[in-house]
Amino acid sequence: MSTLAFFLTQSVNALSQAALLFFLGVGLTLIFGIMRIVNFAHGALYMLGAFIGYSLVRWTGSFWLALVLAPILVALLGTAFELVILRRLYRRDAHAFLMVTFGLALVVTEAVRLIWGPDALQVPPPRLFSGVVFLLGEPFPTYRLFLAGAGAVMAIAIWQLLERTRLGLLIRATSQNAEMVHALGIDVGLVRSAVFGIGCGLAALGGVLAAPLVTASHAMAATVIIDAFVIVIIGGMGSFLGSLIGALLIAFVQVFGNYYLPDFALAFMYLVMLLVLVVRPGGLLGKEA
């Protein structure tokens, strides 16, 4: 394979990876921006999305339906969790939140194991994108192209949501000064529940999209939360743009790092996280924790 072709395919690869990481990271950062908590269950919800997607595809035969329904289901679950449980903790310290979302992660992981069994499950990609396309003579799965495209589309959509819509305005305002928003007569609680639900839904969306690529497995929950956390740390907690940049950065590091030093992928991530935490604890663009 020529060097140019190599770099091209690997770069598109990285872009598709970045899309998945972006879905993970943007939800986490939105939740942090509004609620100042790190949703530890994010990885588990990503995994849940993958498994629900698997079942929906098997029942309905349509990947697209699964792509729409699974995130909605998980978003509803997340909103319910926020309403029933998280609401009671707003007056407590940050550790209580962390542990409760950790508890949620455990419960979700166990539930997945009970419902779908302990084995990893294969999700077939949609027929529309299950072929290959030729980039500079090298075969490249179209599904990855689709992912990269979907990532770009979602990034623009979320950006527009935040900048142009009333909901986006409320989200941005609440993340800057919740009390003021409350004083203006807005039900901040509703905004919080909505954002938490959206964040969870985005994680699940990432999970469904990832499933045809990596199979739906149980180890996802823990590894993926670390990935999400690293992205958000790098980009900055609470920054939408930061999560995009972080996702791109980590994806490229992972893809090219995996090629040159395959065994050290996890150690490398750990090092990157460490470096950022030490040098710029606020991240590149973020609000302080």
Partner: protein, 322 residues
């Protein structure tokens, strides 16, 4: 509190007398409880006394188990020495872990501990020559002690060894939290900035408590390896980190005894419920969430409050959190 010292002595007496009356399978369960109790108690030093929430305590457990297993399989060290050496090795590695993780605070600290545990998990899979890969180390012998003491190879003998480790560690921890060092830990827990500005190099104290906590966790793991006869990657899976954290919180953090109760509660659920349903671990997670919401002081906290007829403390515990 005198009544609790008496109660403690009574409990220890019962534990010592246990082998006389209990059947073999109950002895196995009891030994497992002792080991798990030690594991949970070691985490309490970090979580309960210093508010360093670790999501990766399996790292200590797994390190201790693998180290001890390796020593028992590849050297002729007697059992007690292998166990203790494994614990010391774990504590030494933990100094480095602590140094790294304390570069951050709060959630970032917790994430770093998780990342380290995940790193060990990955290493355990890949470094097959030392760790046996996904199969792990098998056939770990419960070797005789020094000077030909074969008592440790028996179920009862090993039980007493584990019990001695637990009681010894408990006394060590009790001593530690009542010392000037412990007073500083408490300061860090309640207001780290203030402790720093009072003139304490808080990072050093945090590293020290991480090292001690991991060493004791490693001791528990090192006991587990010869107890079960194997050490594999299951011991490093993140779910176990979660479960031991739950034991600490549900049992009652910051009390040393609480986590042991939490371990007992966990084992009870596992062995009683698993015959009815596979969902016992899920149930355990739900119980955890329930305790955080409604009884953050844990079982031991509830018990002591009830015994003192201190209703105000029950209320305060519910309102002021973990």
């Amino acid at each position: 509190m005198r009544w609790s010292s008496l109660l403690g002595l009574a409990v220890v007496a019962v534990l010592i007398a246990a082998p006389l009356g209990l059947p073999a399978f109950a002895m196995t369960l009891l030994t497992e409880l002792v080991i798990l109790g030690l594991f949970a108690m070691s985490l309490d030093l970090m979580v309960g006394y210093t508010r360093l929430v670790s999501f990766g305590h399996v790292a200590a457990y797994g390190l201790g188990a693998y180290a001890c297993g390796y020593l028992l399989l590849n050297t002729s060290l007697p059992l007690p020495f292998a166990v203790l050496l494994a614990a010391v090795m774990t504590g030494t590695v933990a100094i480095g872990v602590g140094w790294v993780c304390t570069l951050a605070t709060g959630v970032s600290f917790s994430m770093l501990t998780l990342a380290f545990a995940q790193l060990l998990y990955a290493i355990a899979f890949k470094w097959t020559s030392v760790t046996g890969g996904s199969d792990g180390l098998a056939g770990i012998p419960r070797r005789a002690g020094p000077m030909g003491l074969t008592v440790l190879t028996t179920k009862t003998g090993f039980y007493y060894f584990a019990l001695a480790a637990l009681v010894g560690s408990y006394l060590l921890c009790r001593q530690l939290v009542a010392s000037p060092f412990g007073a500083v830990l408490r300061g860090i827990r309640e207001n780290e900035t203030k402790t720093l500005t009072l003139g304490y190099n808080t990072r050093l104290y945090k590293i020290a408590v991480v090292a001690i906590s991991y060493a004791l966790g490693g001791l528990a793991g090192a006991l587990y390896a010869p107890f079960a006869g194997f050490a594999n990657t299951e011991l490093l899976f993140w779910l176990l980190s979660g479960q031991v954290l739950i034991m600490v919180i549900v049992g009652g953090s910051g009390t040393l005894i609480g986590p042991i109760l939490g371990a007992a509660f966990f084992l009870l659920l596992e062995h009683q419920l698993s015959s009815y349903t596979e969902a016992w671990a899920l149930f355990f997670g739900l119980v955890f969430i329930g305790f955080i919401l409604f009884a953050p002081q844990g079982i031991w906290g509830l018990l002591t409050a009830w015994f003192k007829r201190d209703w105000m403390r029950l209320e305060k515990g519910r309102r002021h959190g973990t």
